[in-house]
Symmetry: C2
Subunit: 371 residues, 2 copies
Amino acid sequence: MKIRSEFTRRGSSPVHLSLRPWRVPGLACFAAAIALMASHAVAQTPAAAARELPAKTVPVPDTVSPQMQKQIAAPLTSTWNVIPTTAEGWKEQVNAGYQAAMKALPALRETLGVKVEPMTIDGVKAYRVTPAAIPRENRNRLLVHVHGGCFVSFPGESGTVEAVYMAGFGGFKVISVDYRMPPDHPYPAGLDDAMTVWKAATKMAPPKNMAIFGSSAGGNLTLAMVLRAKQEKLPLPAAIAPGTPMSDLTGAGDSFHTNAMLDNVLVAYGANCDKRAALYTNGRDLRDPMLSPVYGDMRGFPPAILTTGTRDLLLSNTVRVHRKLREAGVEAVLQVFEGQSHAQYYRDVGAPETKEAFTEIARFFDKHLGK
Amino acid sequence: MKIRSEFTRRGSSPVHLSLRPWRVPGLACFAAAIALMASHAVAQTPAAAARELPAKTVPVPDTVSPQMQKQIAAPLTSTWNVIPTTAEGWKEQVNAGYQAAMKALPALRETLGVKVEPMTIDGVKAYRVTPAAIPRENRNRLLVHVHGGCFVSFPGESGTVEAVYMAGFGGFKVISVDYRMPPDHPYPAGLDDAMTVWKAATKMAPPKNMAIFGSSAGGNLTLAMVLRAKQEKLPLPAAIAPGTPMSDLTGAGDSFHTNAMLDNVLVAYGANCDKRAALYTNGRDLRDPMLSPVYGDMRGFPPAILTTGTRDLLLSNTVRVHRKLREAGVEAVLQVFEGQSHAQYYRDVGAPETKEAFTEIARFFDKHLGK
């Protein structure tokens, strides 16, 4: 297998590294990630200023619930650095993820008492996600969800997982957008679809009663949707909840280095997730705020709640958006969960931290949404 | 030199490790910290669940200001694992820190236009810290500051640094408590002094117009003061700002492991700072909420703003307090600065991140304090 890694940094040309074949996943991958990171480092700062960290063993913390300990103790995602070389190969990998998510969904819906129905909105596929009980104050409220999956994974109903959590824990009606994705549909197809749904949704409920949310690529899209709504002078939502957003696809952000190999979900920058993102960005300028929203103008953004974990590879990309929003005078709150890697706050419906994260988001929406 | 490390974990007996002499500071120290962490780990979880991290080089991020890059690029604190063995040795080390802080203070006061005068309040030494210009809305407001220094460092005027930042950037009058410290005065002397000042201060201004703040050990003391004020049924402040609080002296907290050797201020758990804290706790039960406030009952706490950085060894101890406050129904906000190690938000008056951190705290106080 040949692994090709691209780093595109601000204004610099992409660096192409051709690495020799090795076992995947396995310890050899560590060396790969480190080599990638080191080359990244050298281009950036004098080696003297970099921090040399020795190898270390990091235990599972006892400061989280047993359920969360189990997630933290899990091995690295098996495909974190398995990079398909053809569109067909990507589709096979995506399908495996789809099947796994679909298998888990019925029990999740059952536990949370949530119903999911397919729908089409102005030609875009979506899902109507409805909790069994809708509190009075949420009857005229509507949330729009954009799912994660590094812009390529979780098509169809498999993308509704986070929407089911939000509907179930928060008692909100949700429309989850099944936006078009690479390899067949690079940017701007996905964002276009999300905007089509947003425009239509603002006719189903008053925008002041609405929020947009989503994690990872969904966090990127949440932010990009607001940037685009501003640009197109469309109504803005009353609040947003970008979870651990892929807000900077250029590779900038300290936690890409500090949490590399510690985050057991994304594992390292330049690996599988970023290769999927590259299918979305498709050679465009990664500093474009529609691709890396941290570089966007956040003045006039609605109140935002951001969620991440201390081991999250995107910890920096989350806190940087938080600071950027605050600098722009936007009400923005940050929640950082102990020990969690990327988006581990919606993996186990029984973990108290899961309920905590969604309850906080629901409270934030309740505070900012009209009724 | 002989270094003796003690870990006292929840309910378990202290583990004593005798390590062989080595160069301090130097690469050999890495092995030491790792050995300490590994032994800690083994007691806690099966080795299989722990994460094995390879050695790596972490560059200075380009996502922070040049001033902050300089701080991040700085070598590890020279004394991070230099542990005096006598009270006299500690006093010498403390005096070196005192001299360095005193040397820097006049320029800092000058830059921020802040005046510092010694005072005594009911027998406790303190400093009155006054900005040249006090905005109208702050005239009847008063802040109480408890300084950091791992419960042992920054006696006298050298403890006023953070108070000068807060007075200067926020335009607040501040009383900075020069509480008694080990080796001569272990717990509860320092907290007693802080409470004496708090009681007296609530007669100088209405408590609803007051806040308590402080970082590191000062963050611990800020939280402990509220716990004790609750216990003694004293008035509570209208807001608090515990910065990167030493909220858990037992060694629990994921970032003690994940950010070990990355944080260039504290560097590792069980090193110099924790040895100073041990002089304060002096053999007491470290789970006592007056020593490790994360274990305290936070119901009824005033609104709180917490500050930390992504590389902070106390990142976990900060976010855990944030979660705990939220669980207790307290309004609590968290700000996490990109790339910063422990309390690096008040080291360089010229860094934009410094102004940003204190401006956020000042805004939070302005929102919650009466006039």
